[in-house]
Symmetry: C2
Subunit: 351 residues, 2 copies
DNA sequence: TTGAAAGCGCTACCAA
DNA sequence: TTGGTAGCGCTTTCAA
């Protein structure tokens, strides 16, 4: 059996308290005794206090849980998520907190159990879809948490760091509109659940369940509505996933059909890069060039010359961690909206 | 105070065991009683069994620790590490295990404490330098672990997944040698600790402390030695970090000096991309083109036309997780060497 | 400076 | 099917 603190105490002939003190309160005993205890521990192969037992007793763990309501590997596949995690981990590191990445099974009951069973002091919920159930489980545990988007309904103690999705989306749409584009397609990931890739009939942005996508589509629409281009004049394209391939598949038929749009506004850079892939492939067969915009400004966007909206990924992660680990006294400071910036590159041209 | 299992038991008028059973062994009580208990729990706001207490009692945690002996954010900054983590997290997810990313402070004593205090069932150690101290702490805790490189000295129960660094490096060097290059520079990250960026005097690869870098440099040297080009004829360049910028800085003086090498063999793609950056910047001032090779085959390598050695990043992560979570019965199967492949692109040309 | 006592919240065994 | 008992390994008063 693995030796315990008790064994060390027995070996030295002192009480457990004293051994415990030797580890976590060196000032509470003589240096000599402490040395004697540590020596005995080494001799016995005692690896130091058991972390789980210590957490139970102390009432905290030293780790924050990170939740992606999707495959966990998504976190490492999406460039924006990776940068967010870089910022988050840097700040967590500074606070001496570890990061527990919690995989969520597809089965709702088991997913909820995963949230209930995570040994953490708080949660950072990376919003990618419907995570209300997870927030509910977290609130029941009375743990602090932070999300990466404003909540749908305000909740006391709900802290978040996000951007003004709608206003940000509007800026890039205004840029495209100013270039003279009027036949425009909007591309989003999972605009409606279970919808197939490609064009979608949608009464308005309000019908989109995912708040981030809803906000961005609404912002795109705002810009055109101001110029008299109605929602019904816009094409909405659905991608079945936030990936390059899904973006490419979503637009393929539309771009190669007759009367294609002159511009495609995507809800993420990854989708937009997929559009560029389709465009590059279709190449000579296209009647005329198509302008494309993305959202996020990931590294690949610059290389591809993609016009996009920049949001500060690492900073978002850093602030999320700080909101959790060093909560502001003023509750209003728990709601952070970051600035975004339109980045114009070569993927948008006059219509 | 937060309600505990005991409170629920009191409320329903049953024993704690029965409440516990209601949560983790539903077959041990009648459906009716279980419903009654769960209802009471809901009423009281009991969020379910405390994960830490459960772990203590059960003796396992359901998480594996991931150690990067560097800034934790490095894990998200290095493309190869990110792909490794994607593979690792996918496999962990399948096994229902969470991932605890443990930040390691710079201070050695505190770093060791971080390893000792992590509540995990095992460790995956991503090798980036000297991690013997961490392995030592893990062994004392008698936890299973896996590393991403063969150990320097064999240890029972040490499992690893790696590649034959030396043989792999040799293949790309042979390719460069076959193109006729004889004046060659080798570029590695932290070839010697605390060495400045740029050329380095080194008696031989054996003097390099980091095993991965040592193996790759030795492999490069092997290829040239076979053609009569001695170690002393090769230039060794030191980069102070595994980053594009560090790679660029390491080669700048050498490439723009007189009598520059005709080829640079880098120990990673990231470093090689830095070399390409320097080359692009120096551009017209260069006497003649310089061939460059990398190592890893990250996504950016393809776009940059970089000749490199491909190693299966995601698979490495997946196998690491499986070695840990589903240990093979045969101990020999705990040592996995993955295949690598030379990928020739446009960054290498005849001398 | 040291030790005794009292749990942290839970689960697993065994007996009823 | 239910409950009593006995810890899991530790830390923290408080008293000596």
């Amino acid at each position: 059996m693995k030796p315990t603190l008790q064994d060390v105490a027995n070996a030295v002939g002192v009480s457990r308290s004293t051994v415990s003190n030797a580890y976590c309160r060196p000032d509470q005993l003589s240096a000599a005794l402490r040395e004697r205890i540590l020596d005995a521990a080494r001799q016995l192969g005692y690896p130091g206090p058991n972390p789980t037992a210590r957490s139970l007793r102390r009432g905290f763990v030293g780790a924050i849980g990170v939740l992606f309501t999707s495959q966990l590997s998504y976190a490492f596949t999406d460039p924006f998520a990776v940068r967010f995690l870089a910022g988050l981990s840097g700040a967590a590191e500074r606070h001496g907190s570890a990061l527990l990445l919690v995989p969520l099974p597809d089965d709702p009951a088991r997913a909820r159990a995963a949230v209930e069973n995570a040994a953490v002091d708080g949660f950072c919920v990376y919003c990618v879809g419907n995570e209300e159930w997870a927030l509910d489980a977290i609130r029941r545990r009375a743990l602090p948490y932070v999300t990466t988007a404003a909540p749908e309904e305000a909740h006391p103690a709900h802290r978040y760091v996000g951007i003004d999705e709608r206003a940000a989306a509007r800026t890039v749409a205004e840029h495209v509109a100013a270039l003279g584009h009027r036949r425009v397609a909007l591309l989003g990931d999972t605009v409606l659940p279970d919808a197939p890739p490609g064009p979608l009939r949608l009464a308005g942005p309000a019908d989109v369940p995912h708040p981030t996508t809803r906000g961005r589509l609404a912002g795109f629409a705002d810009a055109f509505a101001a110029l008299g281009v109605d929602w019904s004049d816009l094409t909405v394209l659905n991608a079945t996933g936030n990936s390059r391939a899904a973006g490419a598949a979503a637009v393929a038929a539309t771009l190669t059909g007759d009367d294609p749009p002159s511009a495609v506004l995507a809800c993420s850079d990854v989708l937009a890069l997929g559009v560029l892939d389709t465009l590059a492939e279709a190449g000579p067969h296209l009647a005329r060039p198509v302008s494309v915009t993305g959202f996020d400004d990931i590294a690949e966007a610059a290389a591809a010359g993609l016009t996009t909206v920049r949001q500060p990924a690492e900073e978002k992660g850093r602030i999320a961690a700080e909101l959790l680990l060093a909560p502001p006294a003023d509750p209003a400071a728990g709601h952070v909206l970051l600035d975004t910036a339109l980045v114009v590159r070569t993927s948008t041209r006059p219509a």
